[in-house]
């Protein structure tokens, strides 16, 4: 069998960073080729080179179907039969779902006008394949992150491609959507389409991949059929050191003291296309880790936004038994809340600012005397966190936009943990984070809880929720449909509450 | 000082046809006298812009400056400074009386306004509603003319000024303002065009079908002889224009400056260049 695409000796140097060092990769049609590696290993960069978003350093070659090519841009890549789902969402908020899926190849009628009906029907068909029930005429700006991700996926598979690259497609999907996607991937492979599959959810790799390539520090360290790979071996190849344990024995630090009570929380003026959050009530205890589970669009993020004051609500929120009107995030923050948002680019980071400036934004006054920032102390503290969370960056002065996705996520976690809030809400905290770092984040959350911090974890990763939560609350279509203690919670009953 | 080494600068208020005529007169005079000549047009009508220009001219060591002042008070200080630096300074067209300039050459705007007001009063038979269409609301020469008009109309208690409208010296705005004026005042007897835009604007409006019945009924007096204004007189839309003598002003300005620099003129005195009321009768025969 001749390979569809071969990359030889691919290197890429950014100012201060050598992201890739002579990488080789061979891809075949009809095969699922997984690429694994720690955050910042160079996976996304390799894919960007394959689709012409970035150009590799001189010396590297790319061969497609036996012919050497210089891929100039994504459109060129697509004409060669290569399409990609970017790790960082690349959707246009002010266009509809259908317009996004068919952007730059809209069907037109004889008069040269866009044939909306045809386009919407075609979009609906693609969405149906992915088991998404969304109106194709909806604006993408009104979708949740997970739904936007599905739109990206729909777009990529709607091209008549020979090779589809999926860079962490399931990072913001919950179990159900992920399952649908994996089924889709297998079906595509059966249609003689090649797939590159990047994911930090290792079980997915074992479920669907034919071959797995492991990258570390910009190099390929291993590549073999998945049958010859074990999970332990994969992890060892990725991180090059022994990981103690993924999920340690669960120890609860919850006390009886109620820190946060939410009563009959609901949306203020629900719009027709949003999950109608209503009657959400729960308590959060000091030192407790409270998990929130649900399918995408269940309304978990919205509940958290209401609690954090960034979304209008009806109902009551009590802190230490005192009612507080969360009219603005600054109110919530002064009440001791922190919020690691799920939308990195839109809500989490000021992309054009440095790691240091993003890091300190939540607690800048810690470094201030008379409003003057002591940059020395700021940098020192930032370095500590870079060290502690293993953030891969040449220096604290690097702009966050230049970090890899997982490392950006770590910056967001760092900026909130450094503030030491009493209540920390983390929405999809380990999205896009590699296995090693994931274990470290879990350990960090446990440690914070042990120190008396209360934590709400929203995650679509069911094993994660089950492993670290003292209690699990399940949301479905805006309502609480289940509550379980750590002991009660199991894959089956939690999933049943979320879907049933 | 040798004449070829003398540099005189002339600064108008802004780029409009009136000053182009001044430039013509001034340049001719400079060429004839054999002195170097600089024409510096401000980019806007604010007093501060002219102050900057005079500063630049002082730095350039010119020998004489003639200026048409946009705002009298704001240039006082800098003109004194120029005079102290040994530069001959005079004003033309628009004065700054307390600045220490040697002389003023030009129209007395208030007097011109009075002439205009009297002409209008006679044309409409001493009674009725009239309106004023002016240019920039802040322009001092226009305000002096308006004051003159009002002074003249004091003698005619049956004449009322129905409205005063600004046009920012923009023809399009002038036209739409005039249209609205005529619609809102069906009984309007006369319009004063105080700035160069007034004449063409009114003429164009009266040429429209909607207002064809107002032609001849509505008496129009305007300022300055722009081609369109002259055409308006020819076509019978405009009854009279106040024509100043910009070419003369420019010529006199340079001549007096050079005379002062060479020391020929010892005690300069103001010169009133006057206005001519141009009507269909004397249309081909006036001088500027």
């Amino acid at each position: 069998m001749t390979p569809f695409l071969e990359m030889r000796n691919i290197s890429k140097t950014f100012p201060g960073v050598r992201a890739l060092k002579g990488v080789d990769l061979t891809l075949y049609r009809g095969q699922v080729h997984a690429v694994a590696g720690e955050n910042g290993a160079g996976k996304s960069t390799l894919m960007k080179i394959m689709t012409g978003v970035q150009r590799c350093d001189p010396g590297g070659t790319i061969t497609v179907e036996g012919e050497e090519v210089v891929i100039s841009d994504p459109v060129h890549a697509r004409s060669l039969g290569i399409s990609i789902i970017y790790q960082e969402l690349a959707v246009v908020d002010n266009l509809s779902i259908a317009e996004n899926i068919f952007l730059a190849r809209e069907p037109v009628n004889a008069a040269g006008l866009i044939d909306r009906r045809k386009m919407n029907a075609a979009a609906a068909a693609v969405l149906a394949e992915l088991d998404m029930k969304l109106n194709p005429a909806m604006l993408v700006g009104d979708l949740s992150i997970g739904q936007k991700q599905m739109v990206e996926i729909a777009r990529a598979i709607s091209y008549q491609s020979k090779l589809i690259i999926m860079d962490e497609p399931t990072a913001s999907l919950s179990h159900h959507e992920a399952t649908v996607l994996l089924r889709m991937v297998r079906r595509l492979a059966a249609q003689d389409i090649g797939i590159v599959y990047i994911s930090h959810r290792l079980e997915e790799i074992f479920e669907i991949a034919d071959t797995v390539t492991v990258m570390r520090d910009g190099e390929t360290v291993d590549s073999r059929p998945v049958g010859e790979m074990t999970r332990d071996l994969l992890v060892r190849k990725m991180v090059d050191r022994e990981l103690s344990q993924f999920f340690g024995e669960h120890v609860s630090h919850a006390t009886d003291e109620v820190l946060l009570s939410v009563r009959n929380l609901g949306m203020y003026r629900p719009t027709h296309h949003s999950a109608h959050v209503r009657d959400v009530s729960f308590d959060l205890h000091r030192g407790e880790i409270l998990g929130f589970f649900g399918l995408i669009g269940a309304g978990r993020t919205e509940v958290m936004e209401m609690i954090f004051g960034s979304r209008a609500y009806v109902g009551d929120i009590l802190i230490d038994g005192k009612p507080v009107r969360m009219s603005d995030p600054s109110v919530a923050i002064s009440e001791g809340l922190g919020f690691v948002t799920e939308d990195r680019k839109g809500q989490g980071l000021v992309l054009d600012m440095s790691v240091r400036e993003n890091f300190s934004l939540t607690h800048l006054s810690d470094y201030c005397r008379l409003d003057f920032v002591d940059r020395g102390r700021e940098t020192k503290r930032c370095r500590e966190f870079i060290q502690a969370l293993g953030i891969k960056t040449p220096s604290p002065e690097q702009k966050v936009v230049n970090l890899s996705g997982g490392n950006q996520q770590k910056v967001i976690i760092a900026k909130w943990v450094a503030r030491k809030p009493r209540i920390l809400i983390v929405d999809e905290p380990t999205r896009g984070i590699d296995v090693g770092a994931k274990a470290e984040v879990h350990a960090l959350l446990n440690k914070l809880a042990a120190e008396g911090m209360s934590i709400i974890v929203v995650s679509s990763d069911l094993p994660e929720i089950l492993a670290i939560s003292d209690r699990v609350i399940v949301l479905k279509e805006g309502r609480i449909t289940g509550g379980f203690t750590h002991q009660e919670a199991s894959q089956e009953n939690v999933m049943f509450a979320a879907t049933g | 000082k040798d004449k070829a080494d003398i540099t005189v600068a002339v600064v108008p208020k802004v780029a409009v046809p009136f000053f182009d005529d001044c430039n013509t007169g001034a340049k001719e005079a400079a060429d004839k006298l054999g002195v170097q000549y600089q024409w510096v047009v401000p980019q806007n009508t604010q007093g501060s812009t002219q102050v900057k220009i005079i500063e630049d001219l002082i730095a350039r060591h010119v020998d004489g400056i003639a200026i048409s002042v946009n705002e009298p008070k704001s240039v006082e200080g800098i003109i004194k400074q120029a005079v102290d630096a040994g530069i001959a300074v005079l004003t033309f067209d628009s004065d700054s009386a307390n600045s220490g300039r040697s002389m003023y050459i030009g129209t007395i705007n208030e007097a011109a306004g009075e002439t205009m007001g009297k002409a209008m009063a006679e044309a409409i038979g001493g009674e009725g509603k009239v309106a004023i269409v002016t240019g920039q609301l802040g322009a001092s020469n226009l305000n002096e003319r308006i004051a003159g008009v009002k002074k003249a109309l004091e003698a005619y208690p049956k004449i009322t000024i129905a409205a005063t409208e600004g046009t920012e010296d923009d023809l399009a705005r002038g036209v739409s303002v005039t249209e609205a004026l005529l619609r809102a005042n069906p009984d309007l007897k006369g319009i004063f065009g105080m700035s160069q835009v007034g004449g063409p604007a009114v003429a164009k409006v009266l040429a429209e079908k909607e207002f064809s019945d107002r032609k001849g009924v509505l008496k129009v007096f305007a300022f300055d002889d722009l081609p369109d204004t002259v055409k308006g007189v020819k076509d019978g839309f405009i009854d009279g224009i106040m024509v100043q003598r910009p070419v003369t002003m420019g010529r006199l300005a340079v001549e007096h400056l050079v005379a002062q620099i060479t020391g020929e003129e010892k005690s300069p005195a103001d010169v009133d260049t006057g206005v001519t009321v141009v009507t269909a009768d004397n249309l081909g025969s006036y001088t500027k």
Partner: protein, 336 residues
């Protein structure tokens, strides 16, 4: 924005249904500005009988038609996230060049083509400076604005150009079709054409995509640079068309014509719902925005309001109109 008042308010259901229905014709913002326009019109006609006459209305329409025409091009630029400060210069220079061609005795078609050609050149300069060199649109078009003005002064030395023109040419600016002035007809036609283009064609959607998320649009294969170049060329050429119509209307090319009009034109687009951040706005909205300003300007003269106060009133009415619009759409839900 964060809600100031977070309690449910039962807004009249009839009202909201009406709005929803109208929304199919107009986007909400346009609709609200249209309401503001109607309210201002009714208020004026309560106090003067002269406002609501065919003659006056047509006069008003003609008076704001040039601004409205220019705002059609401008709004497309703004939707891509850009700005075109040079429209006034393009308009003025186009009218001047047309006039000069007439002076030189060329036939009407040549003169009009030369005028429009000026717009094309402006647009290409702006577009290339922005896409090829990578200048920020504000700087690029500020530069061409200054150069255009400078050229006009250099050519005219402040003296208007008023050539003789053949009979037929004046129809463009002064003619009527029934009671409707020709410039108004041109404005309406352009509005309809570009409204359809922006909503229904690939080009239009790509303009929105470029302003919404340039990076994503580019990755999807939208030829972003070509789109940008096109909108600047369109904007300048439409402005030049306005210049030619203006010249035909007044048969005089003023050396200062169009100066400062960029602010009016941008304001029309912004009042009609265009966001300077890009991605939002509409052609019909821009025209309605120009209409609102035009009606106010007419009203203050008809009502014989002190000229000195006119600008203050215009400013105040715009603020109130847009504030009501913003407040209403905030009350009607929306996000934080």
């Amino acid at each position: 924005m964060l809600a100031t008042d977070q309690h449910e308010t039962a807004s009249g259901s009839l009202h909201s249904r009406l709005i929803a229905e109208a929304g199919k014709l107009f986007q909400v913002r346009e609709f609200n500005v249209l309401i503001a326009l109607v309210v201002v019109g009714v208020l004026i006609s309560l106090y003067t009988p002269y406002f609501f006459t065919t003659n006056n209305l047509m006069g008003v329409f003609r008076a704001f038609s040039l601004t409205a025409i220019m705002s059609i091009g401008m709004v497309m630029v703004i939707i891509t996230g850009g700005i075109d400060l040079s429209v006034g210069s393009a308009m003025g220079l186009a009218s001047l060049v047309t006039a000069l061609c007439f002076s030189a005795g060329y036939p009407t078609e040549v003169c009009v083509a030369a005028g429009l050609g000026v717009g094309l050149v402006f647009g290409l300069c702006n577009g290339l400076l922005i896409t090829f060199i990578g200048l920020p649109p504000f700087i690029a078009t500020l530069g061409t604005l200054s150069i255009g003005r400078g050229l006009m002064y250099m050519i005219t030395r402040g003296v208007p150009v008023t050539p003789e023109t053949p009979e037929g040419f004046a129809v463009l600016g002064q003619g009527y079709l029934g009671p409707v002035p020709v410039p108004v007809i041109i404005m309406v036609l352009l509005m309809l054409v570009f409204a359809v283009i922006m909503r229904r064609t690939r080009f239009g959607r790509h303009v929105y995509a470029t302003g919404g998320n340039e990076h994503a649009a580019r990755l999807s294969g939208v030829k972003v640079d070509r789109i940008k170049l096109s909108v600047y060329v369109l904007s300048s050429t439409i402005a030049a068309l306005a210049g030619v119509i203006g010249f035909s209307r007044y048969l005089s090319a003023e050396p200062a014509s169009g100066f400062g009009s960029e602010l009016d034109v941008i304001a029309a687009a912004a009042i009609g719902g265009a966001s300077l951040a890009g991605g939002a706005g509409s052609v019909t909205g821009a025209v309605i925005g120009a209409a609102l300003v035009g009606v106010i300007a007419n009203g203050v003269v008809l009502l014989n309001i002190n000229t000195y106060a006119q600008q203050a009133i215009t400013g105040g009415v715009i603020l109130i109109a847009v504030s009501l619009d913003v407040l209403r759409s905030r009350l009607m839900g929306g996000k934080n």
